[in-house]
Amino acid sequence: MVLDVQWAIAWLTLSAKAMTEHREELIELDRAIGDSDHGENMDRGFQAVVAKLAETPPETPGAALKLAAMALMSKVGGAAGPLYGTAYLRAATSMGDATELDGGALATALEAARDGIVARGKAELGDKTMVDAWSPAVEAAQAAAVDGPGPVLRAAAEAAAAGAVATDPLVARKGRASYLGERSAGHRDPGAASTALLLKAAADAAGETLPESPE
């Protein structure tokens, strides 16, 4: 099994849906340790992605992600805009002109995305950022690469969800939450939470059914 541009478009469309559905939840997470805008920013950004997709339908998964990267970069703002923008751009670059992606290509794209975030944001694992969702996702994806794209996305989504939950007890060392010091512990990182939702959308788009996400 391989994934094509239809999957990429479905992923982005489901991502937009997820951002709208979870907008308030992400705002609430950001309210606790940030500035109450993450859900609004992500929702605005992915609505722009969907509008662009309709305007100029992409022909390859890479083109779809590049289009998404540009829209996110120009509409999200805040910390998340450039970070997700870079992530999707690096993923797009890693996909190149391929029309179809196998498990390995997908795992590599996810790794490129994560590396882009780390290159821009300089966060390390455990700093209570979206990296804490991306990094386990990349590892799980690499381990599942031989099983094909469906299992890769499924593994990535599950690992990201667990990674997001695991940010709860952490003390933030990067981003806005870091100003709270110890007071940031006991809250989930909003960026890690949105990453988990986006990777779940990727798996959903591939027809993977995930277990109830951990709480």
Partner: protein
């Protein structure tokens, strides 16, 4: 949440539009992508200053666009830094060839978006320098955080660097002065109430009737710690102490004292804080040569204030006194 708005999603658009109408003699508003420039931009031969950040801190930054201060301001969504596709055209619109200084408050989002825009501008042949403002002493362990935030001191950086640009300083000189202001200013703030981001609809944090947040930033985020309500003098002591210690203010220093309202605190209260701060500075033997009191770097309707101290030298004082003509600061013209 009761606000004088029409729709949470149109707040920034409508507000900036109204701002442009009210100050059409000073600024031009560019609606899409959104940024605000000095009416007479680009000013030939002059280094241009561009700043920006999330909205909700008004009059920062658009209120400081005009002669002797900023050439352009780039407003993001409320508390959300603007995007490179706003910052880049703003930068290009005000560049006269003499180069552009980006004045960036130190927040991950602002830093990343301005960084990207600066790279793109450089690629287009515009000379860009970036100055990070990070005056907030409430952020203690900068090793374990995203570093000190840029807060009230931003106004002072923009005013003094703006005057340097206006008198004809080069790109390197303006950059150096902005950096020197930043190294000589420290700020700390307190919140008596939270603010409500329009699209969120609920207060940015919950505070009991007798609690206050010490060491807040300007985005409605909670502060470093929460304490019981205290008299204004005691609060002033808490804020000013770390500011003066960190700056190393001592006998004989000349300073600018800036008491900034967070948006919902009456002016009368800011002057009560000023009174105490002046007494503390006098005790230390420092002379308050210049002062600024009012709502300049706000968090929507938050109640509270911040205190900034800038160590003055003759050049800073001259540049502070130089004419400025913006919507929110004006003198000498």
């Amino acid at each position: 949440m009761k606000k004088l708005i029409n729709d949470p999603r149109s707040v920034v658009d409508e507000s900036v539009e109204g701002f442009g109408l009210a100050h059409a003699d000073i600024v031009t508003v560019h609606p899409e992508p959104k940024f605000v420039t000095r009416k007479d931009a680009p000013v030939q031969g002059k280094v241009a200053l561009v700043s920006g950040g999330g909205s909700g801190h008004e009059p920062l930054h658009a209120g400081f666009v005009g002669r002797g201060m900023l050439d352009a301001a780039v407003p993001g969504a409320v508390f959300t830094s603007p995007t490179p596709d706003q910052i880049l055209p703003a930068t290009a619109a005000v560049d006269s060839g003499a180069g552009v200084v980006h004045i960036v408050k130190n927040y991950t989002g602002d830093v990343l978006n301005f960084e990207t825009a600066a790279e793109m501008a450089q690629a287009e042949g515009i000379h860009v320098r970036s100055v990070l403002v990070n005056d907030d002493v409430a952020v203690e362990d900068s090793l374990y955080t995203a570093g000190r935030r840029g807060v009230g001191g931003t106004v002072l950086v923009e005013k003094i660097a703006g005057a340097a640009a206006e008198r004809g300083d080069t790109l390197e000189e303006v950059t150096a002065i902005a950096e020197r202001v930043n190294s000589n200013v420290r700020t700390m703030g307190v919140a008596l109430s939270a603010c409500t981001v329009p699209h969120a609809g609920t207060p940015s944090f919950d505070l009991a009737d007798d609690e206050i947040e010490i060491g807040i930033g300007i985005h409605g985020e909670p502060g470093r710690h929460r304490i019981s309500m205290e008299p204004a003098d005691a609060i002033t002591d808490r804020l000013l102490g770390p500011v003066l210690d960190d700056l190393g203010i001592q006998d004989g220093d000349k300073v600018l004292l800036f008491v900034n309202g967070m948006g919902g605190t009456p002016q009368s209260e800011l002057y009560i804080v000023y009174r105490r701060a002046a007494a503390i500075l006098q005790d230390r033997g420092a002379a308050i040569d210049r002062s600024l009191v009012g709502n300049f770097v706000t968090s929507l309707e938050m109640q509270g204030c911040s205190i900034s101290v800038l160590r003055l030298d003759d050049e800073f004082t001259d540049l502070w006194d130089a004419p400025v003509h913006t919507a929110a600061l004006r003198w000498g013209v």
